[in-house]
């Protein structure tokens, strides 16, 4: 299997492989009008930029980078025009899960996945260190800073703007505000290895919760979006549910330690205020979280009961 990279893609291959097809040609994905994946050796030349994603949830072919046009590009690439919007958005989401499936320095990938196009994991091959640096730069570039230099270099105004567009693709923020990175540790009950997440890479609780779910909850068997059947399940979940960590519908809740050392449920205060006081995060078992802001928890349970899952 080619193109997808990451755990979720092997899941889709194993579905197909059970049907006794083994070796995949990397060119096969270029053959149009394939509703089933035809596995075998041999070149399939021509029209390699055209793809068709088979409709209806089941991936019958391997996704390549071409299936996921950048959100930045103005003109749609041929691959997006040939795929249905639902399958491309769900495949985008599954691939963004794939992005955070593997990796040591995942902050970069989670940022890339959270903002812009879903990309093939680890492609283009840019070191996570460089990605993180560029992300932080995009956030730190102030419009004021550029204005003052633009006064001195009027002739370069257009090129300077070009510059900002490029870097901001690392962080898809139209108005780069003066912000530094804010990495906090995240631990989840039952998982010995903690992670770190850049709070400033997320603009809302929803985005943060989604990143954390991608990082942590995929390890729980029944909420694993990255297996073959789970891939479809994950896609459906993605379309229907909001963040489980925030609405109280999962076994875990998201909590944080504030500057005074108290543990609070995430979601009570406005996002910006939260950023100022959060020191670290913990994905806590719901059973243990009863001591925290009981009213909020109750409210969440009520909301959940009335929600269609």
């Amino acid at each position: 299997m080619q193109g997808g990279g990451g755990g979720s893609e092997s899941g889709s291959l194993s579905t197909v492989s059970r049907e006794d097809n083994m070796v995949v040609s990397s060119e096969d994905s270029s053959c149009p009008d394939e509703s089933e994946l035809e596995l075998g050796l041999g070149l399939c030349l021509g029209g390699f930029k055209m793809h068709q994603v088979s409709r209806g949830g089941q991936f019958a072919r391997i996704l390549t980078a071409k299936d996921f046009p950048s959100a930045i590009s103005a003109s749609p690439s041929p691959s997006s025009s040939s795929s249905s919007s639902s399958s491309s958005s769900s495949s985008s989401s599954s691939l963004s899960r794939a992005n955070v499936t593997a990796g040591t320095k995942r902050t970069a990938d989670s940022v890339a996945a959270a903002n812009s196009s879903s990309q093939v994991v680890g492609w283009p091959p840019i070191r996570a260190y460089r990605m993180n640096s560029m992300v932080n730069q995009a956030k730190n570039q102030t419009t004021e800073g550029f204005n003052s230099t633009m006064e001195n270099h009027k002739s370069e105004t257009s090129t300077v703007e070009k510059g900002t567009t490029g870097i901001s693709s690392y962080h898809n923020s139209g108005n780069a505000k003066l912000r530094k990175s804010l990495f906090v540790k995240v631990n989840m009950d039952g998982i010995p290895i903690g992670r770190k997440v850049d709070m400033n890479a997320h603009e809302s609780y929803e985005k943060l919760a989604k990143t954390l779910e991608d990082m942590f909850l995929k390890t729980t068997p029944n909420v694993n979006p990255a297996g073959s059947r789970a891939l479809e399940l994950g896609m459906m979940n993605k379309l229907t549910r909001s963040s489980k960590l925030l609405d109280g519908s999962s076994d875990f809740v998201l909590t944080y330690e504030d500057k005074e050392g108290d543990w609070m449920l995430v979601g009570d205060v406005p996002w910006k205020m939260f950023l100022c006081s959060v020191k670290r995060l913990r994905i806590m078992r719901t059973s243990e979280a009863t001591g925290l802001a009981p009213r909020l928890h109750e409210r969440n349970c009520q909301r959940q009961r009335s929600k269609h899952i």
Partner: protein, 581 residues
């Protein structure tokens, strides 16, 4: 002949032999040379920390002073290796703490280092001098504080590109006032904005031998002048932020500070550059041999101006803002250029945002006769351009081309780029490292197998048609040590047919290919000197039929047997261990 030199004489002779290869050769001459050599080997390089155990190293080389270890596979740099895979240095430090009390140097790459490891280093090695953590992770500034406080003769502390839990900048204050031995300090990866600047200034001021200093982003432009004035002997300097509102007095202070550094040859850093401050560097540009502007979002005209002041430049790292025009200027100004790296400013954009094409690289290949090492990200390439580059520069030793869109063909002919890369391997007879991209069939591997006799490291992605491709490489590339492959249709046949080859290599990585679980088991069974590890984060590989391909495969030779620190998503194919599992 009955005479032989006394051991001390041989030892003295051997002390002039520094290279590992030569030392290894010496040790094979006869038993007594093996014995003498092993007692006087001071430096050990271990390219894969799992290829051998610490005990084995200590047993053979009891008097080591300097060790270099590498951990994770290279593709870990691109997030292809999951967290928790391994590469822990603690077991090594723990063993060496007892066995090598006089250890002076530890250099690590892609390893997991904890504060506990750093604290152990700090207290175990009384004469510790050099700590280089290249692309490592798992530690915080607390661990650094321990090193700073305890290592009285510390010469080098280099954290390049590591991921550090930056708890506070105050760790710098842990360097005692008596510490004057620093020669190299690289803290450029530290992310926090609190750096104890006064501690840094004092430290720099009292270390007269400081040659290399790389600051992090917390150090603002106005502070650079202060630092430089305290260390005019610097040879290598990494700035922090190079941006501020343009103020004449700040500018002239900075320019003056730079001009007082008569030895400065290498510059890096340059996050957030305000172009107006670049002329402050002009006084040192004529001496510059290395310039890393790969984080500087400055445009081609500013880059051209700067580069045209640097005729002695040997190494340039830059973003693709340099454009073809900038590279043409580089080609005409910098005749000493040996290494060029061009990084993408907008890697995820579908459309090019800058005018950088294959033309820039062709220009540099034509104009820079000493060019040996290339890393180039671009969006289009042609066979014609590659052939031209190959013919212009047969002295290339490292050629890494990344055409951003996978499977992009020759933009002129729409053909695969087999012929172009074939020309590279054919003409560049000393090529030791190659990374491929673009549309490629099995033919390119045929060329590589035929001509790539000195090739040591090959990176392949989204290429090839069949097992034949892999077979060409494994059977033809005699010097191959590291092979990393992703998203290629290579399966069991080539791998099993060339199993013996794998024992001559350091490692093989294959992800998103077509190697079956059954083949992995077979390899693990038949090749006891190989560790065959399958990585799968979704489910155990034996929960599926044997013919199913594995997600990721990492094979490496080892005399230490299978490792026991594997996380749940890594499975060894070592039969004995698997059965016990």
């Amino acid at each position: 002949m009955a005479y032989s030199f006394p051991d001390e004489v041989l030892e003295h002779v051997f002390s002039f032999i520094q290279s590992d290869k030569d030392r290894n050769a010496v040790s094979l001459v006869c038993k007594s040379w093996y014995e003498i050599e092993r007692w006087c080997r001071r430096k050990v390089f271990i390219g894969n920390c799992y290829a051998v155990s610490p005990r084995m190293v200590i047993r053979r080389f009891p008097e080591v002073r300097s060790i270099k270890l590498k951990g994770k596979p290279h593709f870990a740099d691109f997030n292809l290796v999951p967290d928790g895979w391994g590469g822990y240095v603690l077991p090594w430090i723990a063993e060496m703490a007892g066995a090598y009390p006089w250890l002076e140097e530890i250099r690590l790459k892609r390893m997991v280092v904890t504060d506990e490891s750093l604290e152990l280093i700090a207290k175990s090695f009384k004469n510790f001098k050099v700590l280089v953590l290249f692309s490592c992770e798992g530690f915080s500034t607390d661990g650094l504080a321990a090193i700073a406080a305890s290592c009285k003769n510390l010469r080098e502390l280099d954290l390049r590109e590591s991921e550090v839990d930056d708890l506070s900048g105050h760790w710098l204050a842990h360097f005692p006032e008596t510490c004057t031995s620093l020669v190299s300090l690289n803290i450029s990866c530290l992310r926090s904005d609190e750096v104890s600047f006064s501690a840094l200034e004092r430290l720099v001021g009292r270390c007269p031998n400081l040659r290399s200093l790389r600051l992090n982003r917390a150090v603002t432009l106005d502070k650079i002048a202060n630092i430089l004035r305290r260390a005019p002997q610097l040879v290598d300097f990494g700035t922090g932020y190079y941006a501020a509102e343009l103020q004449p007095d700040v500018f002239s202070n900075l320019a003056g500070a730079f001009s007082s550094c008569k030895e400065l040859k290498s510059l890096s850093g340059f996050w957030d550059v305000v172009p107006a401050y670049l002329p402050a560097l002009y006084s040192i540009c004529p001496r510059l041999t290395s310039l890393n502007l790969s984080y500087a979002t400055i445009q081609s005209p500013d880059l051209i101006k700067l580069v045209s002041h640097c005729p002695r430049l040997q190494r340039l790292l830059v973003l693709d803002y340099v454009e073809d025009s900038g590279l043409e200027e580089l080609a005409s100004s910098c005749k000493d250029l040996q290494e060029l790296r061009v990084f993408p400013s907008d890697p995820f954009g579908a459309e090019p945002n800058v005018s950088l094409t294959e033309q820039g690289l062709v220009a540099v290949s034509l104009g820079c006769p000493k060019l040996r090492s290339v890393l180039y990200f671009c969006r289009r390439m042609s066979n014609a351009a590659l052939v031209t580059i190959a013919q212009n520069r047969p002295n290339l030793t490292r050629f890494r081309l990344c055409i951003i869109e996978p499977k992009t063909p020759d933009y002129l002919t729409l053909e695969p780029l087999d012929v172009g890369f074939g020309a590279i391997v054919e003409h560049c007879k000393d090529l030791s490292r190659l990374s491929l991209s673009g549309l490629l069939t099995d033919h390119v591997f045929e060329y590589i197998g035929t001509y790539g006799k000195k090739l040591e490291m090959l990176s392949v992605a989204f290429a090839g048609d069949s097992d034949l491709g892999l077979h060409h490489v494994l059977s033809g590339c005699e010097s191959l040590r590291k092979l990393e492959i992703r998203d290629c249709p290579f399966g069991d046949k080539a791998l099993l047919a060339n199993a013996a080859k794998l024992e001559t290599m350091r490692s093989l990585w294959m992800s998103s290919c077509a190697v079956s679980f059954g083949a992995c088991k077979l390899l693990g069974q038949k090749m006891p000197k190989l560790n065959v590890e399958v990585i799968d984060e979704t489910e155990p590989p034996d929960s599926r039929p044997e013919s199913c391909p594995v997600d990721k495969l990492y094979i490496y030779r080892s005399v230490a047997g299978p490792r026991f620190d594997m996380p749940p998503f890594v499975w060894t194919m070592d039969e004995a261990v698997r059965i016990l599992h």
